[in-house]
Symmetry: C2
Subunit: 367 residues, 2 copies
């Protein structure tokens, strides 16, 4: 689709959406009734993830379209507007989000700002009557997650957290192997995700913006894996931190290892780091064999192995497109997303407990 | 070499050794002066490991020969005597070990009895003037290890612990990679070793004999890996246990995960189990890449990978033959073995701290 025809298409669907008033049910009549309706997404925060992953992924979705942007950087607004044919009226900054209420082009605000701004931007979007899809980690404290959930509930809007692996078919195959007990009861899960972080000036290294380091940013993937495979919530966590670059990681964790016990007796052993590359995958050990993915958490190329010699290698679509299409579908069908705000909150409670264990040197009970 | 010529050879070297009085230096003149001297090993405890690994390995050694046996089972004595041409005079039971003092055929007693008998048998052998090679774990408490070290020191005999991986060339290549910093400074080590244990009646599941379960039996390999790669002693450990079969593992640990911090900032994350198969290997992550072995701890087929795509695949001789030959060489050259009693004691101190962490739910500092 060339620029002109794409612009025509966007204009056409925008007009359609403009005709439909927002309903208390949380979805417009037009959205609910028209199978061809693509929900309009506004990206809130135009950093690297929005630029290199989410905006390109939106072009691949079935149910979504990039309808607007919310940014604090005027030069980015101009560039995005030109690249994606976003009309000026669909461009906002963080102080004008209340005006979203008057814009029927926008159905969903996808919050991609630094972690500690998620609550502020989610609540602003919900108050403006928009559904919210929010990057993980959901926020930097359970209290803020609860505020986000309450705001969306009050506005009768849906809240989803961007756990892309929950829509990745190789991850889902591992969940199937675990839950079906094809290899018997699960006993041990090993998982690790990390990378050598670059630019020391980035927000991920500043606690006020990130809430934490490697654990918040990539350790959460390992935690998700353990919860997805077991289908359980951990009853306790045990964690330790290593810091070798006290300057770069003055505010946040560099490397954290943690163990979690689950009600069925499964124990997980996870490692996350901002220090080194190569830590990337998980393996689950059950009574009659093992299975796992390596790499597990990249944007593509997910691949796995099983103890019986078979490969786990299911063709993948764009993970960001998949999660956005699912969220849009949930909105259209008026059903709760599996990556709800409550799901995001559970992780933040556990991450908070892991930090408490690091701080106290003690096992921390949960629930 | 056929049976007759092997017997002739053994008789010849036995006669040679018989002519040499034991010296306070801990090695006979004949042993020290004759490059052809093979040290006589007596295996103490004729269980599966002695039967299937150590006795066959002794046939492959350069510096050792199977000269005697110590067993509490007369039927085993007969079978071994016939199979390995062991003269009746070189067969002992646990109550007659003091008589080893009068037998110049025996230079070394290799203690392969259950863990909690290692001190008793080591001390008996030392008192009889024999060098002692002892299976790992060295014993079930630091105090008993110290008694073993003291007894061997008092008898002026050498004490070695059977850490076969310290002589395995692929492990040594990983140590070289770590210490030479070929991939930069080491940061994280992940290691796991476990298997689904069979016969519920075996001594490994009885605490009085084993001192502990998976951690004592196979977790110790992971601990060794972390200490070998770093060349450091951990400053603290943090551990958790999972038990899913409370009957089978009523006395000992089924699965333990632990984290250890090292002075240079390296953190290790290890898992050991008697519950499932497949947990077998380690990976070390450094600033510029990673390397590791998988499988790492089997008797053969050790194989590894590096982040630059190169394989680690060095031809291996029998690991048991290698460790016994080295111990014999140390005796012949009157130098301390790298797998000394002190090395064994270090591990037992750390394993004891790991159990304390499991019990208390707290990080345990190490001196």
């Amino acid at each position: 689709m060339n620029d002109v025809s794409r612009r025509s298409f966007i204009t056409q669907t925008a007009t359609l959406a403009a005709a439909a008033p927002l309903l208390a049910s949380g979805v417009s009549d037009a959205a609910a009734n028209s199978p061809k309706k693509k929900l309009g997404f506004a990206l809130c925060g135009l950093g690297s993830l929005s630029t290199h992953q989410i905006a390109p992924a939106l072009q691949k979705t079935k149910n979504c379209r990039l309808a607007g942007i919310i940014t604090g950087t005027p030069s980015k607004a101009d560039a995005w507007s030109a690249q994606y044919n976003i009309p000026k009226k669909n461009i906002y900054n963080y102080d004008t989000m209340d005006k979203l209420a008057n814009n029927p082009d926008i159905d969903v605000v996808y919050v991609v700002t630094p972690n500690s701004l998620h609550a502020q931007h989610t609540i602003a979007a919900a108050k403006a009557g928009k559904h919210v899809f929010c990057e993980k980690p959901m926020e930097i404290s359970p209290e803020r997650c609860e505020q986000m959930i309450a705001a969306c509930k009050q506005a009768n809007r849906m809240l989803g957290v961007a756990y892309r692996c929950q829509f990745e078919p190789n991850h889902l195959e591992c969940v199937r192997l675990a839950r079906s007990k094809e290899f018997g009861d699960l006993r041990i899960i090993q998982a690790g995700f990390g990378f050598a972080i670059g630019d020391p000036a980035q927000w991920r290294l500043h606690k006020a913006l990130s809430g934490g380091g490697a654990l918040m940013d990539v350790g959460i993937y390992c935690l998700q894996t353990t919860r997805m495979l077991t289908g359980e919530e951990p009853v306790s966590v045990f964690a330790a931190e290593a810091k070798t670059d006290a300057q770069k990681f003055a505010e946040v964790d560099e490397t954290i290892t943690w163990q979690a016990k689950f009600p069925s007796g499964v124990i997980s052993n996870c490692t996350t780091t901002f220090r080194v590359n190569g830590l990337q995958g998980f393996r689950a050990f059950a009574d009659k064999g093992w299975f796992g993915l390596d790499p597990a958490y990249f944007y593509n190329g997910i691949h796995g192995a099983r103890s019986d010699g078979k490969e786990i290698s299911i063709p993948q679509e764009d993970q960001f497109a998949a999660e956005m299409d699912d969220f849009a579908q949930c909105i259209l069908e008026k059903r709760q997303s599996k990556v709800s705000g409550e799901e995001g909150l559970r992780d933040i409670r556990i991450l908070t407990a892991i930090y408490e264990s690091v701080r106290t040197g003690k096992e921390v009970k949960l629930g």
